[in-house]
Symmetry: C2
DNA sequence: CCGAGTTTCAACCGCTTGGTTGATTAAGTC
DNA sequence: GACTTAATCAACCAAGCGGTTGAAACTCGG
């Protein structure tokens, strides 16, 4: 399986792990760009630079590849769940994941009926964090923490979920780091108003 | 559906307008539920209760049907653009369009690369309205009105764009009128905090 | 350097897709 | 009531889909 040995490894001709990684990366890009249904396995293989049969060989087909991605996403989400950082930093991090292939994949899977990448633990932790921020006076206490989290997450992912609308409103391409940074700053200002401090 | 005609209309055998309407309605439901790529013309025809060839006959195919829907949506959006209503009312209206087939269609088209339903005039008017609300002290003036509008629209459509996430956070089905009402109330509270009034 | 096992690929397959065809039925006209 | 036009349908089709096959290319222990 994994003979990740030192010598002659740099330009190995056959390298299954590298092939797997290439396929996962390519699949994230394709699925993220067009959604599951519109994605062609041929395109994934072409982007990865390998034969399309390898999708079946390594992942058991298109769906297996998709599910592997959906689960691997959990890790990405969790590492962003900074425990006690200021809220605007957390939001900024969230805004920036908007630009990644995994972020786009997450948006697609939220709309579709298919298996949602259930990372309930992560979400529960985030709700709890909201409640703490409310207790600390950082956020208004009369709001339901769950709904508040939902609204903030949705607002943060606007460049992704409302991509065309965002472009029409601002005249800029929302899929750029510059846009994300600027938008995150505005969100920081917004939550500052929420906390009562002008 | 609506047989609003006087003579012998109740059970007409051939009725092209009715057929067109049935197809449009069915297409909105199917496209809204699964997105363009995953929708099968056979399913649309079956839901409408007509032969699938009529899609080509009346709309020139699947894509023509989709585009017809995308343009007809503009009207729906515009009528919601209430000129001088309180902001929370506007937001509540927006939250509730989340439940409609057209709303779901809008969400899908925002993610996809395909022709965005450009209703620029509507959006420009909304931005201008934001600016007025800022001048009136209803909203903080140090925020960019475009970004503010974007954030509020994204937050309002959270039950739609972050459907699974919303369900996991709240434990309820976000696609119900009850949820929309409750969520709209929370948003109203939120914007009240934004305006500075506790 | 050989043989066993792994990794890769070109070619192919059955199925589903969106769309078309040609015929059938109803409505309007004189 | 024959003729024309519009509306509807069942059957069919080429193209594209995801997936499989069987063998070639490679790696590595002996």
């Amino acid at each position: 399986m994994d003979q990740r040995r030192s010598p002659s490894a740099s330009e190995r001709k056959r390298d299954p792990e590298r092939t797997r990684a290439l396929l996962l990366e390519a699949a994230a890009a394709e699925f993220g760009a067009k959604g599951y249904a519109a994605t062609r396995t041929t395109d994934i293989a072409a982007r990865a630079g390998v034969n399309k049969q390898l999708i079946s060989y390594y992942f058991g087909g298109k769906e297996g590849l998709y599910k592997e991605l959906a689960t691997s996403w959990h890790g990405t989400a969790a590492e962003m769940a900074s425990p006690e950082q200021p809220l605007d930093t957390v939001l900024a991090g969230f805004v920036h994941t908007t630009l990644t292939d995994h972020g786009r994949l997450w948006a697609w899977s939220n709309l579709a009926d298919d298996s949602p990448p259930t990372d309930e633990a992560f979400l529960r932790a985030q709700v709890e964090q909201m409640r703490e921020r409310q207790n600390a006076g950082e956020l208004p206490a009369d709001l339901d923490p769950g709904f508040l989290l939902l609204a903030l997450m949705a607002a943060a992912s606007a460049p992704l979920t409302l991509r065309h609308t965002a472009r029409q409103i601002t005249g800029e391409d929302p899929a750029t780091p510059e846009f994300a940074t600027k938008y995150a700053e505005q969100l920081a200002l917004l939550v500052r108003h929420l906390s009562g401090r002008t």
